[in-house]
Symmetry: C2
Subunit: 408 residues, 2 copies
């Protein structure tokens, strides 16, 4: 099936090279695709790595291995297979992964444990070892790839290439952060997320890199949802090559730690939002702002209950200011709420305040706002200081077409 | 919008009158409907009542009042308003409810606390007191209504009238149970459920009636889902008039208690399944059988994670034996699971066993099964004795059309 480019797509940004990072793309031919489907990234010695992974109890071998690998804090290579998730494939799937880890380790002269692998695509078909090994060999011999090439090569049902860039000043030194991501369906929060990779030339201690990634993930990747369905393969990795000339960032007291964390957070948020912009069938990008909740975590859960509600999402698709469905979603979230203190608004206009429809509420400007591509939905619980923003897309015929109208 | 009758509709069954129950239907004209939208049921003195209600924290006044009322265990009347849920309407909504409770209590000569009220329809518009009172007065004067009349009058977006009947022998006495229900969207489990009413001439102590209803609800109404969205107004009430000539059923040791509980369970299960059969846009009825789980409750949660997954539901709509999506849903359920012990099958044929695709798996008979209207999806966790069956429907373009393509 040929998918039209999402109407919410953004152009691929200019992204600088990162010292210590070599990008390659090749064709392993996992599917009948006329494009690269294997991405190989070689990283200089001393590269720190941190990662977050799906909390699915049916995670793939790649995720199981990855969880162990990031604990060591060091990485020399990343291989991403697109077109086959290699999930639910038992020992047969694991063999292929171990084979290409060894192959890259031989090539670089490092331990297989320093070679991270991700796979994305169909579940239940073991990754074909021969194709994977041929693909990796082709990648060794390939020309340098651009960030956009790599972003395309890791995609599956994605309709546009997704990347984000930020920089931070560490004292007198400027460090760069470049990220790429894939994902458009089977996107749900409270777990890690799709496949995302962020590269930086900053010099950061692995344990602290993990701390910063965990914090950024909580407010970015874990605050998006397309369909409430959580993948078996979700992975976000950050690689810090340390090629920039600044004293290592070891903890929050290190010079530049705050600046770097802010830049990392920016890249994570942009990448997360790009996935929502490529949500299957999406026609509108929705910011769900929750305030006045019992806690930030409670606000996030309420935001996700709203963002995952098929009735709210179809109302937004229909450009319908149906705040009754928002009340329903707040009520089912299971979080502290008081019906008579609840306020709901669209595009900066309250439709209901403190449990009652607003007297003389004029729907015209709200209807105008809902015709746009970027929707703001605000919910104030009126009971505390907790707040969160969650991002989602609407639910349209396009989602059904993509997921029901063809056979996988 | 005119909705086509669900392809999964069943004909309305023959249902006998119940001693002590008078049915009336009238037009309160809450909407521009050419049909009755107010149902009034008068119950003889001594009628026992039990009920389960939504656990939404934004429940309607009707639900708040109902929770208190069923604690007394006695009821003399039921009023159901269709076309206006009267939820999120604050004190203005509550006034109208209290007015019609008083009106019916005056008419019967009972306490207003013995008059139960339910409302279903749009959220956020206060129930118009004048229309409600006129409707109730019209119902007092109306001719007797049939079960099917009442089932139609309580409906909103329902595409067919839904009723179920069972009987049980209490010693030498036969007792009858008749139930009606409405609901097709905003249907989710783990709360009570839509609006359902069951009437019996059995003589049952109120506290024990509540016990039996709670048990039946756990395995019936709380095991269905259409869209994972839980209403603010869900209510199921059981009324036992005691007109049958048998010794009162007081507890599990009373003669006939098991037979009555089994009949009640049958009616609850049939009513719950009818709601799924009228699921918005449904083209297939899906039985999700979960076995081998850590506990029955764990099995139910896994079943609901599968039944609520948009990717599983669209795969079934597409007649696609995509068991990878079932793996995903099991993995995200957050319940004990071991990927390498998991088995998945359709229509009695295992596609995957113990974490691996079945060798020589023939998809042809599975594809044939998926073309039917009644789908069996089996998941065995392989780690315990917990089991549950959950019922749902597929997710089709019809759901989007009903909920996005018109303005509420």
């Amino acid at each position: 099936m040929d998918l039209a480019v999402s109407p919410l797509a953004l152009p691929f940004p200019d992204m600088p090279p990162i010292g210590g990072v070599k990008l390659r793309a090749a064709r392993a031919r996992y599917k009948d695709w006329e494009r690269a489907d294997l991405t190989y990234v070689e990283l200089c010695e001393g590269t720190a790595v941190a990662g977050v992974f799906t909390q699915s109890l049916c995670a793939s071998s790649e995720v199981e291995l990855g969880r162990e690998q990031v604990r060591s804090g060091r990485a020399r290579a990343l291989i991403v297979n697109a077109g086959n998730a290699n999930a639910f494939t038992g020992y047969r799937g694991r063999e292929a992964v171990e084979a290409i880890m060894a192959q890259a380790a031989d090539h670089i002269g490092c331990s297989p444990r320093e070679v991270l692998v991700s796979s994305t695509g169909v579940i239940g078909v073991p990754l074909p070892k021969d194709k994977a090994q041929d693909g990796v060999a082709a990648a060794f011999a390939a020309d340098a790839a651009s960030w956009e090439d790599a972003a395309k090569a890791i995609g599956t049902t994605d309709t546009f290439a997704k990347g984000a860039h930020a920089s931070a000043m560490i004292g007198e030194n400027r460090v760069e952060l470049c990220g790429i991501i894939k994902g458009s369906g089977m996107i749900a929060p409270d777990m890690a997320t799709m496949l995302g990779y962020i590269f930086t030339d900053a010099d950061v201690a692995p344990a602290f890199l993990q701390t910063m990634l965990d914090q950024a993930t909580a407010k970015t990747f874990n605050c998006i949802t397309v369909d409430g369905d959580t993948s078996t393969s979700d992975t976000v990795l950050v690689f810090a090559t340390g090629k920039a000339a600044h004293p290592s960032i070891e903890d929050w007291d290190s010079p530049g730690a705050d600046a770097f964390a802010a830049a990392l957070n920016d890249v994570c948020r942009e990448l997360a939002q790009l996935v929502v912009r490529d949500g299957e069938g999406a026609s509108k990008f929705v910011n769900v702002h929750v305030s006045g909740a019992a806690s930030d975590e409670s606000a996030r859960k309420i935001g996700l209950a709203i963002a995952n509600s098929p009735l709210v999402k179809t109302a937004i698709a229909g450009e319908d200011a149906n705040w009754g469905r928002v009340v329903m979603a707040v009520g089912k979230a299971g979080e502290p709420a008081d019906r008579d203190k609840l306020s709901i608004g669209f595009g900066g206009i309250w439709a209901a305040r403190e449990g009652l429809p607003v007297d003389g509420y004029d729907e015209a400007p709200v209807a105008e706002h809902l015709k746009g591509e970027e929707i703001d939905l605000a919910v104030d619980l009126g009971i505390g200081d907790g707040r969160a923003t969650v991002w989602t897309c609407d639910l349209t015929h396009g989602y059904i077409s993509i997921n029901a109208d063809y056979r996988s």
